[in-house]
């Protein structure tokens, strides 16, 4: 399942493309590390769920999408929006509560959406996006369009009624949906070992008549290949699939998490299998030079620093706008 770095690049994946993926993964990581630091400094409030350690999943899946395809995201959604090409200035501004943010300060970390990129939205409710994903897919099917929907969720979402109902609906109507389950081993403190009586979460899909596969979520090439196949199946009208991407979150579930339910050793072991380190080794074994990788890393750090600068110099929203977005305008204009 996991590819060794000595293997050649998979077909149809060029070195240039792989370097682009590295840039995205590094951006996700640096962005979320920055958010973590800002939280500690008291500049970001509420809560936030960091994608650190899981970067290969969003990046690999979204790399297999085509323009016009859409995703539904989760409470742990920064990575999805960045992989879609999201504007990190507007993301950072949103997290800092500024008017230049994605949601003008209304939403924050858990509610970033960008229809223009195909992101129907992050979501504060576990499994809340799954029925919406199915509905978006129904919309494409009814309008005889060829787009595909990727519905991201965590492992915990598979125990929600909304997942069950959405999966069945997608299956009976052969909707163009790919359920991507980011199995990061824990739903908050609930270990998948305790919360499922399954060896692998992918096995659950059989109950809905949905084909499923399990991949190493820390190996972007495995993720990308599995996603490509599932997306092609959906696009061809053959119905939904489920991908279980096995990965790990290094940080706590959210800012309230003291990590009491797992060991330092376990976290350390997963860090040995870091998805970014893995991709770097792979690229170097396939001809990339170390200095160009370091250059990408520097550029990413600068871009995130610039985003922070943009956000911190942006104005706070004025309470006079509070009611602006409660209802859509009759004339179709936006707030």
């Amino acid at each position: 399942m996991t590819r060794s770095a000595a293997q050649p690049l998979p077909q149809a994946s060029t070195l240039e493309e792989s370097l682009r993926w590295l840039r995205i993964m590094l951006t996700i990581r640096r962005f979320d590390e920055t958010i973590d630091e800002l939280f500690a400094q008291g500049k970001v409030h509420g809560t936030t769920h960091l994608y650190i350690g899981e970067e290969a999943v969003a990046t690999g899946v979204i790399a297999a999408l085509q323009p016009g395809d859409v995703v539904t995201s989760t409470h742990r959604g920064h990575g999805h929006n960045i992989a879609l090409g999201g504007d990190i200035n507007a993301m950072m501004a949103e997290l800092l509560g500024r008017e230049t943010g994605y949601c003008r300060g209304f939403g924050g970390s858990m509610h970033i959406a960008d229809q223009s990129l195909g992101n129907l939205g992050a979501n504060g409710i576990v499994a809340g996006g799954l029925p919406i994903a199915v509905g978006a897919a129904l919309g494409f099917q009814l309008q005889q369009q060829s787009q595909v929907v990727v519905a991201f969720s965590g492992d915990g979402a598979l125990n929600e009624g909304a997942f069950h109902e959405a999966a069945n609906l997608a299956a009976i109507w052969k909707l163009p949906v790919v359920f991507v389950v980011e199995n990061n081993q824990y739903g908050m403190s609930g270990s998948v070992k305790e919360m499922f009586a399954l060896g692998h979460l992918a096995e659950r899909a059989a109950g809905y008549g949905i084909p499923a596969t399990m991949v190493d979520g820390n190996d972007i090439f495995s993720v990308w290949e599995a996603a490509g196949q599932a997306i092609e199946t959906a696009r061809s009208g053959s119905g939904p699939s489920l991908i279980e991407a096995v990965t790990y979150r290094y940080k706590g579930h959210s800012k309230s998490d003291a990590n009491r339910y797992r060991s330092r050793e376990e976290i350390q072991q997963w860090r040995q299998r870091d998805p970014i380190d893995h991709l770097k080794e792979y690229l170097i074994a396939n001809g990339a030079d170390g200095s160009s990788l370091a250059q990408i890393q520097r550029e990413v750090a600068q871009a995130v620093a610039d985003a922070l600068q943009f956000a911190e110099s942006s104005p706070w929203p004025d309470p006079s706008m509070l009611e602006d977005a409660v209802y859509a305008k009759e004339d179709g204009t936006h707030v």
Binding site: E94, F106, G156, E160
Partner: protein
């Protein structure tokens, strides 16, 4: 009644202590919910219980709220006394059918044959920028449905006594704790909620309001975290020579109408402070009671200070603008006084 003590507790500690005492006293009592076990509950309401009572009485569940709330109803029907936690009141949508069609109605529909003595506890409230799906109070939604009792403590003493009473109540009780009152290290908390709490077991009856401050000119009726904002406003008003009585309802169902009315007959002016949305909620209900049963005593229009009809925004200046604040309460007090 409780004996004298000088021990002060946070509200989170008071809640976990109440549950601990009832679990020790009654083997039918058990706790179920997400992260209630070794984690101790995300808001500390079950801290220490897993170690003391083990996994058969402190049960971690999957993220399957409809299933575990329904399961609690079933266990209660079979003689147990479940305490169920669903982390945030904002999350109740996923389990609402079990709550408002089953838990609330089974006793009635069955002619009293089936009952569900359980406590469904949850965190509520804004003030720390957690946005629209993690900041609501929504107690009015549950108070609206006949068959559920609704408890909203404002301090550690009440939290303990009301929890023990809720566990012993033969009905389903929704118990709301405000995140900003709990005294958690990782979240801002109101020191006014940290009060002296006796170590032994005691109860506070459901449906009995608490007059937290006596006054003669204006009555403020409120609940939960807003009790402390109202008291602050009353303290400032006192300097200006306005005497404000603050009524902490403590429970919405049952509602202590008698205390509200006797206060109005004394002060003749009413301000309602509510952290729920303005429309169709607690503030409207109290205003309606005043209009129906005390109109002849009122010398000024009723004023309501509540969250305007917008989802709770994320950004700090926006959020602060929607949560009832001490200055907004003072404005309302001034208005009814000068009318």
């Amino acid at each position: 009644m409780a004996t004298e003590t000088s021990r002060k507790l946070t509200m989170a500690r008071a809640i976990s202590e109440a549950i601990d005492l009832e679990m020790a006293a009654d083997s039918r009592v058990f706790v179920m919910g997400e992260d209630v076990g070794p984690y101790g509950g995300i808001f500390g309401s079950t801290t220490g219980l897993f170690t003391k009572y083990g996994p058969n009485r402190v049960i971690d569940t999957p993220i399957s709220e409809s299933a575990f709330i329904g399961a609690a109803a079933g266990a209660a029907a079979e003689g147990l006394r479940p305490i169920v936690e669903l982390m945030f009141v904002d999350f109740f949508g996923v389990a609402m059918d079990q709550i408002y069609n089953h838990l609330a109605k089974n006793h009635y529909m069955s002619g009293g044959s089936v009952s569900h003595p359980l406590v469904l506890m949850t965190a509520m409230g804004a003030g720390y920028n957690d946005a629209a799906q993690h900041s609501q109070t929504l107690y009015g939604l549950f108070a609206h449905v006949p068959g559920l009792k609704v408890v909203v403590p404002s301090n550690a003493y009440d939290a303990k006594g009301l929890m023990i009473q809720s566990i012993r109540d033969p009905n389903p009780v929704m118990y709301f704790f405000h995140k900003g009152l709990l005294g958690l290290g990782w979240m801002p908390s109101d020191d006014r909620a940290v009060v002296t709490v006796p170590e032994e077991s005691y109860t506070i009856p459901l449906g009995r309001a608490n007059i937290v401050r006596d006054g003669t000119d204006v009555t403020i009726v409120t609940i939960g975290a807003m009790v402390h904002r109202a008291v602050e406003a009353a303290e400032i008003a006192a300097v200006k020579g306005i005497s404000v009585e603050v009524v902490d309802l403590r429970t919405l169902v049952p509602l202590d109408t008698g205390t509200i009315l006797s206060s109005l007959k004394k002060t003749h002016r009413l301000v309602i402070v509510d952290e729920d949305y303005l429309s169709f909620g607690m503030s409207g209900e109290i205003a309606a009671i005043a209009a129906e049963q005390a109109l002849e005593y009122l010398e000024a229009p009723v004023r309501r200070v509540a969250v305007p009809n917008v989802p709770i925004p994320y950004s700090r200046p926006l959020e602060q603008a929607v949560i009832p604040s001490t200055p907004r309460i003072l404005d309302a007090v001034t208005y009814v006084t000068e009318f």
